[in-house]
C-alpha cells in the first residue's frame, strides 16, 4: 500500500499553497470545519485570562480561518504566513487581524513581550523540511522558537496543532523549543483513534505548569512532558482530517467543559451526538 505523500515533501509552502490550494480554504466546507475545530481546541489549550480581550499571534495564519475563531472570541491578532495566495484569501475574507508576509524560519519580527499568546494550526511540520540548500531545519526551528519566546509576554503560552511525520520529528521540534527557553510538551487528543488523533505542542514561557488533559483518553493521560520519550507516533500520518465534532464523545466533553466554565449547556441524552434524520 502506498502512503499518501505529505504536502511538505512535495514543494515549499509558498509554492504548495498556491491559488488553487488557497481557494480550498474559502470553499471546501470540510477543510474549513476541521481548521476551525482545531483552532477552537488550540484556544482552549492556550488558556488566556478569561473574558479579557488579548493580543494574539497566529503563526501560519493562512486564509484566516483560525483568525476568525480569534475574532469570534473577542481577541485582537496579527498573523504571519509565507504564502501570498493564502494571505490573499484572508484579505478577501476581511478578517479583523493584520496580516504579515513572513517566514517562520527567519524568526518572528516583533518587539519583546508583545503578545499574550500564540497559536499555530497545521504549520509547524513545514519547518522540519529543508526547501533550499541553505535551509537547516534545526537552525530554523531554533531561530523560530527563540524569537517567538522573546515576543511573548512573560506568562504566555503558544499552542501548535501539527502533523508530525514520526517520533524523531517530535523530538527535533520539542528539543529546539526547550533549548529556546520554553517549558511544556505535547498533548495528544484521541490517541487511540487513527482518524481523530491530533497533536498539540503546548509551550509556556515563565515556568513549568502541568499540561492540560488530552481529550478522548478516558482517564489515562496522553500528555507527554518533554523529558519523556515515547514511540507512539507511528500512525501519525493517518491523523489528518476526521471530523471530531461528529463524535458523541467530543460533544460530551465539550459540554462538560462548558459546564465547568459555568456556561449554559443542554442536558446530555441518548440522542447527543447522533446524526439527525430529516432536513431542516
Amino acid at each position: 500500500m502506498s502512503s499518501v505523500r505529505r504536502p511538505e515533501h512535495l514543494a515549499p509552502p509558498e509554492v504548495f499553497y498556491n491559488d488553487d490550494e488557497a481557494k480550498k480554504y474559502s470553499q471546501n466546507s470540510r477543510i474549513i470545519e476541521i481548521q476551525e475545530q482545531m483552532s477552537e481546541r488550540a484556544m482552549e489549550l492556550l488558556m488566556l485570562p478569561e473574558d479579557k480581550p488579548c493580543y494574539v499571534l497566529d503563526i501560519g495564519c493562512g486564509s484566516g480561518l483560525s483568525g476568525s475563531v480569534l475574532d469570534e472570541q473577542g481577541h485582537f491578532w496579527v498573523g504571519v504566513d509565507i504564502s501570498p495566495a493564502m494571505l490573499d484569501v484572508a484579505h478577501d475574507r476581511e478578517v479583523e487581524g493584520d496580516l504579515i508576509l513572513g517566514d517562520m524560519g527567519e524568526g518572528m519580527p516583533f518587539r519583546a513581550g508583545t503578545f499574550d499568546g500564540a497559536i499555530s494550526i497545521s504549520a509547524l511540520q513545514w519547518l522540519c523540511n529543508a526547501d533550499k540548500s541553505s535551509h537547516n531545519p534545526v537552525k530554523r526551528l531554533y531561530k523560530f522558537f527563540s524569537t517567538l519566546n522573546a515576543c511573548l509576554s512573560r506568562t504566555a503560552r503558544a499552542v501548535f496543532q501539527f502533523y508530525p511525520e514520526n517520533s524523531s520529528q517530535v523530538e527535533l521540534i520539542t528539543s529546539q523549543a526547550m533549548k529556546a527557553g520554553f517549558y511544556g510538551g505535547v498533548v495528544v487528543d484521541y490517541p487511540n483513534s487513527t482518524k481523530a488523533k491530533k497533536f498539540f505542542l503546548v509551550l509556556m514561557t515563565g515556568g513549568n505548569m502541568p499540561l492540560p488533559k488530552a481529550l478522548g483518553t478516558e482517564g489515562e493521560s496522553s500528555s507527554v512532558q518533554y523529558s519523556k520519550k515515547r514511540e507512539q507516533l507511528d500512525s501519525a500520518r493517518n491523523s489528518r482530517g476526521k471530523s471530531l465534532k461528529n463524535s458523541r464523545q467530543w460533544i460530551l466533553e465539550k459540554k462538560e467543559r462548558r459546564r465547568r466554565q459555568g456556561k449554559t449547556t443542554r442536558d446530555d441524552s441518548k440522542y447527543t451526538g447522533r446524526k439527525r434524520s430529516g432536513r431542516f
Binding site: P53, V78, D98, E106, S146, T147
Partner: protein, 133 residues
C-alpha cells in the same frame, strides 16, 4: 496594516541590526476604517506599546490629531484619551507604502495592507545559543 502592528514590528532579524525599532513608516495610501471601540483592550495595550513610537508614526503620516504626545496619567479613566488611542492604533490603516529599518535602511514593502517581512538568506542574522534572545 494598523499602526498597532507597526508599533510591534522590528527588523532585528536582519544581520548587523541590533534594535531595528521603530521602523520608519512611509505611507502612500491610507484608509480610515471603523473598528468597534474596546476600552479594556486599549487600556491593556497602553503599558505594552511604545507610546512615543506610536505618536511619532501617527504624526509622520498626519494622523495624530487628538492624540496627546504623552500618555495621560489617569488613562484608565480618561475615556477621551482611550478613544484617541483606539483610533490611532486600530482605525488608521496603511494600505501601501513601506517600512524602513532605522539602522540598515532596508525597506519592507506594504501592498494591499500586508507588509512583506521576507528577507534573503544573506540578510539574516545567524543566531547562536549564547545570543541574548
Amino acid at each position: 496594516m494598523k499602526l498597532l502592528t507597526h508599533n510591534v514590528l522590528s527588523s532585528k532579524c536582519l544581520k548587523g541590526v541590533s534594535v531595528g525599532y521603530p521602523l520608519r513608516l512611509n505611507a502612500t495610501d491610507i484608509k480610515v476604517v471603523d473598528v468597534d471601540y474596546n476600552s479594556e483592550f486599549v487600556q491593556r495595550m497602553i503599558p505594552k506599546i511604545n507610546y512615543s513610537a506610536l505618536y511619532d508614526a501617527a504624526q509622520s503620516i498626519g494622523h495624530h490629531n487628538g492624540l496627546p504626545d504623552t500618555v495621560a496619567e489617569d488613562y484608565e479613566h480618561n475615556e477621551e484619551f482611550l478613544k484617541a488611542v483606539h483610533h490611532v492604533l486600530l482605525e488608521v490603516d496603511i494600505v501601501s507604502g513601506d517600512l524602513e529599518c532605522p539602522e540598515s535602511g532596508r525597506k519592507f514593502p506594504i501592498t494591499r495592507g500586508i507588509p512583506n517581512m521576507l528577507v534573503n538568506e544573506n540578510e539574516v542574522n545567524e543566531i547562536n545559543d549564547s545570543n541574548g534572545y
